[in-house]
């Protein structure tokens, strides 16, 4: 047996740099904890942010369309974009740990290490087209995420974590089976070769059954992660049980990572004109937006409402994947980058109002009543929250309107007028539940019996995060164009 010769340059180790940086950061935090255990969370938060910052820098310096490490790492525009969004999203959400009140999760330095490990997992999901690596990355991130949720250490958090975990395990089974089906047809677990084999075998009889079957199994797994109905069942419960900061995080970053995977996987199908998958995805997307909107209408708790709303948004965006146009994919990233800020703001506002006694409701921590008359108690906060709500509802000129505009435009361009109208009308339904909060805040008489519960958890860091989110939401018009340019360039460069 001869020695294996590996050309070191061909490994293209640089492609791994962003992930390595995150990993290093996590390990450093663990080591610091080992050395000195009574350090404050501010240190870890800062370290985490710095790590992510460096990772962003590393990501930006990558060359587009390179592969590394035996083809397992794929750096194209989409993976750069995905990683950037993941890193930026994480960076925006982690300062939410700097609260006024003490919470269980942030008392562990491991929390921040796990957080970085999770980001590390997501990065691999975005930066690979190898199903194995994607799966391992996914599980790394998911296991860390389950733990992070449970670490909030409330009864509901535990319930949330176990629900998420169990459904995640089922989804993992589907993912494995789906991958097996695809592997069975193609003998490959790498998408670039999978697509080639698909192409060459399209004429074979009954080939469609395993190909589409694999896709369906994958849809279950992906649908679970991006919370499509009916694989969404965990979402509202987990959002409710988890801390608001974690819930907000979950509504963005894991979904972006999974959306990238979905893009790669289903993009492959679209490329081959396997319309069935396209229709299935569109149908699923419509079901998701519609039903999620309906359920969000009747919620009594703002956090739960936001959970359903983010399900609905995910469904809305999913249509963009089914279009298989550059504009569609770009609009997806566009949407999520704008959604990130708005949802950051909305959940951060909830997080600010986190206190330790459920005053208004036995179970709900953020019932609508809690915000009644907020305009009197905290006018600026109320206005900002209202702006986030309007943005989520897609009222111009706030940021998410532009996202909606691009997505709808992409849908219209591809000729799916009926879909566009359904999505538009869904937005009209959605307006109701966002307005409901605005109405509570602005138009209902205030509840004087309680102190400033809407301020309970306020701290400078949180204010800054909210301010940033509000700024990004209001002033969107000024950066939409460069952002869109950037995204379109990157997406276009990867051949989507």
């Amino acid at each position: 047996m001869e020695a294996i010769n590996i050309d070191f340059a061909a490994l293209n180790l640089i492609t791994l740099s962003p992930m390595l940086i995150t990993l290093l950061g996590a390990l450093v935090i663990l080591c610091i904890d080992l050395i000195k255990s009574d350090l404050d969370k501010t240190l870890y938060v800062t370290l985490t942010i710095l790590t992510l910052f460096v990772a962003i820098g590393a990501t930006l310096s990558l060359n587009i369309n390179e592969r590394g490490l035996f083809n397992t790492i794929l750096i194209d525009g989409v993976s750069i974009l995905g990683q950037l969004l993941i890193l930026a999203g994480s960076m925006l959400f982690i300062p939410l740990a700097l609260t006024k009140r003490k919470f269980h999760d942030f008392s562990y330095p491991e929390y921040f290490a796990l957080f970085l490990f999770m980001v590390f997992g997501f990065q691999f999901m975005a930066a690979s087209d190898n199903l194995i690596l994607i799966f391992v990355g996914l599980e790394t991130a998911s296991l860390a995420l389950y733990t992070l949720i449970a670490m909030h250490n409330t009864k509901l958090a535990h319930e949330a974590a176990i629900k998420y975990f169990t459904m995640g395990a089922l989804a993992a089974g589907f993912f494995a089976m789906g991958a097996a089906a695809i592997y069975g047809v193609t003998g490959s677990v790498e998408m670039d070769s999978i697509v080639k084999v698909f192409q060459s075998k399209m004429s074979e009889p009954s080939i469609m059954v395993p190909i589409i079957g694999g896709a369906l199994l994958m849809i279950v797994a992906i649908g679970f992660k991006v919370s499509l109905i009916p694989f969404h069942m965990w979402t509202p419960d987990v959002y409710e049980g988890a801390s608001a900061s974690m819930a907000g995080y979950m509504s963005i970053v894991p979904k972006i990572a999974m959306m990238v995977v979905a893009m790669r996987l289903f993009g492959m199908y679209m490329e081959l004109d396997i319309e069935i998958v396209r229709y299935t995805i569109i149908a699923l997307a419509i079901i998701t937006t519609t039903l999620a909107n309906l359920m969000a209408l009747v919620q009594n708790d703002v956090k739960r409402m936001l959970a359903y709303s983010s399900i609905s948004h995910a469904g809305f965006v999913l249509v963009a994947i089914a279009l298989d146009t550059t504009k569609g994919y770009s609009s997806l990233f566009m949407y999520y980058s704008l959604f990130m800020f708005t949802n950051l703001g909305a959940f951060a506002m909830l997080w600010v109002s986190r206190h330790k006694y459920n005053v208004h409701h036995d179970r709900f921590h953020h019932p609508y009543e809690k915000f009644a008359g907020m305009i009197k108690k905290a006018p600026v906060s109320a206005v900002i929250m209202a702006i986030f709500m309007l943005s989520l509802a897609g009222v111009p000129p706030f940021s998410l309107f532009w996202g909606k505009l691009y997505v709808l435009s992409a849908v219209v361009d591809s000729g799916y007028y009926a879909v566009a109208i359904i999505l538009a009308l869904n937005s009209a339904v959605a307006v109701y539940y966002y307005l409901k909060l605005i109405i509570y805040m602005f138009l209902k008489p205030e509840d004087l019996s309680q102190g400033n519960v809407v301020y309970a958890n306020r701290s400078l860091a949180l204010e800054m995060v909210i301010g940033l989110a509000a700024l990004a939401t209001i002033a969107s018009i000024f950066y939409v164009d460069p952002l869109m340019q950037f995204i379109t360039d990157l997406v276009g460069a990867s051949g989507y």
Partner: protein
């Protein structure tokens, strides 16, 4: 009679479904986790059999990683179960339905 790949795959499919049935049937969380293991094992059988029939190693690699994943899941899952058991005193998932609607 030769055993073809299809035999293995059908076995895998059946096992997967058994696992699935277990997942949707079980109310005890611990036993539910057993069922998820079955599903992963079914996938393993599929991967390994395909791998060996087409003489390709990626399938076996996949199976290997699935085993690793299964192990990790057990670790985290058990940790969660312990938490739940401490808080709720039971592993019956019917008791875990505070959050609904």
């Amino acid at each position: 009679m030769t055993i073809t790949l299809t035999h293995y795959l059908v076995l895998s499919a059946i096992l997967f479904t058994i696992g699935l049935a277990g997942v949707i049937r079980r109310k005890n969380l611990l036993m539910l986790f057993f069922a998820t293991e079955i599903m992963l094992n079914a996938a393993n059988i599929a991967f390994v059999s395909i791998s060996s029939f087409i003489n390709d190693l990626s399938g076996q690699m996949f199976a290997l990683f699935i085993i690793a994943i299964a192990a990790s899941e057990v670790a985290v899952g058990l940790g969660l179960l312990i938490l739940i058991y401490k808080k709720y005193g039971t592993l019956d998932l019917d008791k875990l339905s505070t959050m609904r609607g």
